[in-house]
Amino acid sequence: MNRFAELLDRLSFEPGRNNKLRLITQYFREVPDPDRGYALAALTGALSFKHAKPGLIRELIAARADPELFALSYDYVGDLSETVALMWPKTLASSSIKEPPTPPPQGGRE
């Protein structure tokens, strides 16, 4: 879903409506299923993530980063998810731990 993440980044920085539409159109043209379907659901607010809450995110990073380095980083960046995403260890995901299959998203809102 890195391509989707790039789309969201680009949309969040782009002020023009027509330019946003062009970015979205291009994304749906070039990205295959099922990522495209998840993206559509995410963009239209049809996805919910029961477990991805700040407490869990803090726990995950606490198990992977030096607490002082995390505190300094969080203080600097100001956003919890962004801090964790940026300092997430590179090697852990690719080597020692196998990436779990993407779970099917849950339809509807809580």
């Binding site: 790039e6 980044d9 680009r10 969040s12 920085f13 782009e14 002020p15 023009g16 330019n19 062009r22 970015l23 291009q26 980063a65 030096d66 002082e68 380095l69 300094l72 980083s73 600097y76 960046v77 100001g78 956003d79 962004e82 801090t83 940026l86 300092m87 590179k90």
Partner: protein, 345 residues
């Protein structure tokens, strides 16, 4: 010899008393050794300046012929004896002509790295690891959130955007010494062979890079161009110009900024950047920590940037480390860039 007898921070900058010189002094001194041409490190008004030929040339271009009383060009790897002290310059990989300065006396060696990066750059010599007892490192991106992606990937993002918005102009903010030329070289390496346009402030240094054998392709000044003819083009400008009235000459410009700061969304928003490009001429967190280990130094002095986190990391690795209280360094002051000391709110 205690490291502090060899190099000591003073108000004018890092001072070597037994060698009778300062490194990158911020005030006029008798004898200055300069690591690279950025204006916060290379200032005019010193008695004698020792630096690489490229750094001396850049200082001359920026400050005029009388920027120093005397100059002496030093080659990478050449060793000089200054009073009791041996001095050598080694490539820092930061910008063209950038150097780390190794200072040796009575078997003790300290390396002042200036600004550096440990990743490939088509516009300058690669970083050289210089084994030493004390390593003085910058910490511009000294937090583990700063991990620069591959610069080629960032340039692909830019080219994708140019293809998607052929009726808009792409305006890239980039520091005029080093970053701009690197971005141009990366664009050429990615196969982009259309003319690239320059803000007037970029011209002198860019032409200097070309004169040193760095091929940058078809470059043109944006001055005098018709607005409609700038659709679908790429222009490089100093960061301050990209938020200026100057941008009105471009058709619906996409504002990009090539900088390591662009890793942080709030930083990009703060500057009104629509296309952040994480391209940095400083080592990222992984680069800083890998370099510190590679030097084999047992003691690390940390300067300009996020000293606290890097000092903490060094201690967790069993290295003696402390922040060096040096003031006056950050991003180039003449370009209104995101200053290193600026509040990071």
């Amino acid at each position: 010899m205690h490291p502090h007898e060899l190099l000591v921070p003073t108000a004018a900058g890092l001072c070597c008393k037994p060698g009778g010189f300062h490194i990158d002094p911020v005030r006029p001194v008798e004898r200055a050794l300069i690591t690279h041409g950025h204006s916060d490190h290379a200032r005019a008004g010193h008695g004698t300046v020792l630096a690489t030929q490229e750094t001396l040339d850049m200082m001359r271009l920026r400050y005029g012929d009388h920027f120093a009383g005397r100059t002496r060009a030093v080659r990478y790897g050449e060793t000089l004896q200054l009073d009791e002290v041996g001095v050598s310059f080694h490539s820092a990989g930061h910008v063209l002509g950038s150097a780390q300065i190794a200072v040796t006396c009575n078997g003790l060696r300290i390396v002042a790295s200036g600004d550096y990066k440990d990743v490939p750059d088509p516009t300058c010599a690669p970083f050289e690891v210089v084994p030493c007892d004390v390593f003085i490192t910058e910490a511009t991106f000294g937090l583990p959130v700063f991990r620069h992606p591959d610069a080629a990937h960032e340039v692909c993002k830019l080219l994708d955007s140019v293809r998607l918005f052929p009726e808009r102009a792409h305006l890239i903010g980039a520091y005029s010494l080093g970053k701009a030329q690197r971005v141009i070289a990366l664009l050429r390496a990615a196969g982009y062979d259309a003319p690239i346009y320059l803000h007037g402030a970029m011209e002198t240094i860019t032409r200097y890079y070309e004169s040193r054998g760095i091929a940058l392709g078809d470059l043109r000044l944006v001055r005098g161009m018709k607005k409609a003819d700038l659709a679908g083009t790429i222009t490089l400008a100093p960061p301050s110009a990209t938020s200026d009235i100057w941008t009105r000459r471009f058709p619906d410009p996409v504002t990009a900024f090539a900088s390591g700061w662009m890793r942080i969304r709030a930083r990009a928003r703060q500057r009104g950047v629509e296309l952040p490009l994480v391209i940095s001429d400083h080592a990222d967190w992984d680069g800083l920590t890998a370099t510190i280990k590679a030097t084999g130094a047992g003691e690390i002095w940390v300067t300009h940037g996020e000293e606290e986190a890097l000092v903490h990391w060094c201690k967790t690795q069993g290295l003696a480390a402390r922040p060096l209280a040096l003031v006056g360094y950050g991003e180039e002051d003449d370009e209104g860039g995101v200053a290193g000391g600026e509040d990071a709110a």
